[in-house]
């Protein structure tokens, strides 16, 4: 086709035009969606971030005032960024390690594999609000069964969602409970590792640890990478569990007339997405909320580009 420098025959040209129209027709729902629910609000968010806007009076251009406010006069921003990074580092790495461990375990189980697989997977499907509610009950310091059992064993009984130094570990525990998605992905990857490689390693006298290090890991490393990057992106959006846990533990919930300020206890569960909600929908400072939204956008795009750079594998191009 590259050789065609002579004029394209009219029949071929009309065929191409037809093909282009057909492609456009098939893509059209998404093209509208992409423009309207992605590009437009993105440009609009960037615009609002340099305006002063409360939703009632029209937006007024204010330069970098909001950016200056968020970065230098709003310490809660750094606190929220720090919490988000804490969750990204601790929650994601523990989830990947635990998911891989459970995935390996399930490939070794001979009896009752179906039962175990279902048991390990099911919590992942629990609606986040329901799961958080359940954990708020299980971990409540007064009557919760977890502290009850810890007490019987003579172990310390932390305050979990009510203690600033235990609230993020409690959220991490909740995230580990829902590790089923990673388990299934790792299970599939582990079953794909060629058996001969294990046999060859065993003949060479490799022990279980060496087999894991030199056979398993190199084979599944693309999947581990995928799990880490998507985990990071998901955790930057971490919202529902954090805000619901805070509401339930603090007792300030809709209907009680009070407005819940996310982050309970002492801002320890306060994350960037909640900041957008707080600034935009509770204090009506849309400009500053959009600054935080832009920061969130920059961070998630940075990780997405990491994923896309390895797109040969990820997108499986033909």
């Amino acid at each position: 086709m590259a050789l065609v420098s002579s004029p394209v025959p009219p029949a071929l040209r009309s065929k191409r035009r037809r093909e282009r129209a057909r492609t456009l027709a098939f893509l059209s729902p998404w093209l509208i969606g992409f423009g309207f629910f992605f590009l437009y609000p993105l440009v609009s968010t960037a615009y609002f971030s340099v305006t002063s806007y409360d939703g009632y009076t029209p937006p007024v251009f204010s330069g970098l005032q909001n950016w200056d406010f968020v970065f230098t006069k709003y310490p809660a921003f750094w606190k929220g960024l720090g919490n988000t990074l804490w969750l990204v580092v601790v929650m994601v790495s523990l989830r990947v390690v635990f998911g891989l461990g459970i995935g390996m375990l399930i490939t070794k189980v001979k009896s009752g594999a179906g039962f175990f697989r279902t048991a390990f997977y099911l919590p992942y499907l629990a609606p986040p609000v329901a799961a958080t509610m359940a954990f708020a009950f299980l971990l409540n310091p007064g009557t919760g069964p977890v502290n009850h059992l810890l007490g019987e064993l003579g172990l310390p009984q932390p305050g979990w969602f009510t203690d600033p130094s235990w609230s993020k570990p409690a959220l991490t525990l909740l995230a580990l409970w829902g590790v089923g998605d990673l388990m299934v992905i790792f299970m599939a990857a582990l079953l794909d590792v060629p058996k001969e490689q294990y046999e060859a390693a065993e003949l060479d006298g490799a022990g279980p640890f060496q087999r894991f290090r030199y056979v398993t890991l190199p084979n599944i490393s693309p999947i581990v990478m995928f799990a880490v990057v998507t985990g990071v992106i998901q955790t930057m959006q971490y919202y529902t569990q954090a805000i619901v846990a805070g509401k339930v533990a603090s007792g300030v919930i809709g209907g009680s007339g009070q407005q819940f300020e996310p982050g309970y206890p002492s801002g320890s569960t306060w994350t960037l997405p909640q900041m957008v909600y707080r600034l935009g929908f509770q204090t009506y400072d849309y400009g500053s909320a959009c600054v935080v939204a832009m920061v969130l956008f920059a961070l998630s795009m940075a990780f997405t580009s990491l994923l896309l750079r390895r797109r040969s594998g990820f997108l499986a191009e033909d």
């Binding site: 893509l27 509610m133 009950f137 299980l138 069964p145 998605d181 992106i233």
Partner: protein, 297 residues
């Protein structure tokens, strides 16, 4: 073991001993693996058990740290079911999930098909745009979107701002369907074209029947996404209790029954139940779908 008879007599005894140690080691391995699996199963299952046990306790006992109900008060479930609003939340959630799922599948399939099977300029760019959209935190665009639905269309206080966008393709569904459609050999598509099938007919008559597992997985994921969604209803529907969904309502349920863990846990179970029932009906489609998101890693 099959080698044993071929061995010289003097070697047979040690070989038998070796088999015995190997067998013993295998048995030990079996025990260790299953003990670990049982420990893990306790971690995953016990929360459900405790939630259930508390949900059938009396109000009085729910204030203690007892683990086992003295008196099984099944009426808690009826009480939750009859709470004003609960049925409305249920209906709203079902409407959101059913309409959202149908619209998402219908609008995403043709896009995924075009991205997997058509050759056109800008295809890779379109694909990267889909992935970027998939990874975008919803909070990034929520302020202009909210202002649009509230001030231009006056549709906040309902679930329409959440349902309508699903008629315009969902990035995750497009991506997942495309990954699956790539595995369908191009020859089927070519054959249908040669037989004079239009593109839409090819998609619906030839490709769709082969893509059933992926379509089922996408539908399930989307149904669950809508069912579980909290952020969306909180932003768009919270101002009108008549438009609340279960996830959003469940939280306020805790607000108005804040001392009664038993009723809150009964409500939690009633929100969980449909998800679990659906899972048992469609287990295969699920696991295949999850695998599909990861295998091409």
């Amino acid at each position: 073991m099959t080698l044993a008879p071929a061995l010289p007599r003097e070697a047979a005894a040690p070989a038998a001993a070796a088999t015995r140690t190997a067998r013993r080691r295998a048995a030990l391995h079996w025990v260790a693996v299953h003990a670990l699996a049982i420990a893990a199963a306790l971690f995953f299952v016990l929360p459900f058990v405790f939630v259930f046990l508390t949900s059938v306790m009396t109000d009085h006992q729910a204030l203690t740290s007892d683990l086992w109900p003295h008196h099984w008060q099944w009426s808690n479930f009826a009480k939750v079911w009859n709470t004003p609003g609960f049925l409305t939340w249920w209906r709203n959630t079902l409407l959101y999930a059913a309409a959202g799922t149908a619209l998402t599948v219908a609008s995403s399939l043709p896009v995924a098909y075009a991205l997997a099977k058509f050759r056109f300029r800008g295809r890779n760019l379109a694909l990267m745009a889909v992935v970027s959209m998939m990874m975008l935190p919803p909070q990034v665009t929520v302020i202009p979107m909210y202002l649009f639905w509230a001030k231009q269309l006056h549709l906040t206080g309902s679930l329409w701002p959440l349902i309508i966008p699903m008629a315009f393709g969902d990035a995750f569904s497009i991506f997942l369907l495309r990954q699956f459609l790539l595995t369908i050999p191009q020859e089927y598509v070519e054959a249908a074209r040669i037989d004079g099938c239009g593109e839409l007919r090819t998609l619906l008559r030839v490709v769709l029947p082969m893509a059933k597992p992926a379509v089922a997985a996408v539908a399930l994921f989307q149904f669950f996404y809508c069912w579980n969604d909290y952020f969306g209803p909180q932003i768009y529907a919270s101002e009108n209790p008549g438009a609340w969904t279960l996830s959003y309502g469940l939280e306020s349920f805790k607000g108005s029954h804040h001392t009664n863990w038993n009723l809150t846990m009964a409500a939690t179970l009633l929100v969980l139940a449909p998800v679990i029932v659906l899972f048992f009906f469609a287990q295969r489609a699920f696991v295949e779908g999850v695998t599909l998101t990861g295998v091409k890693g």
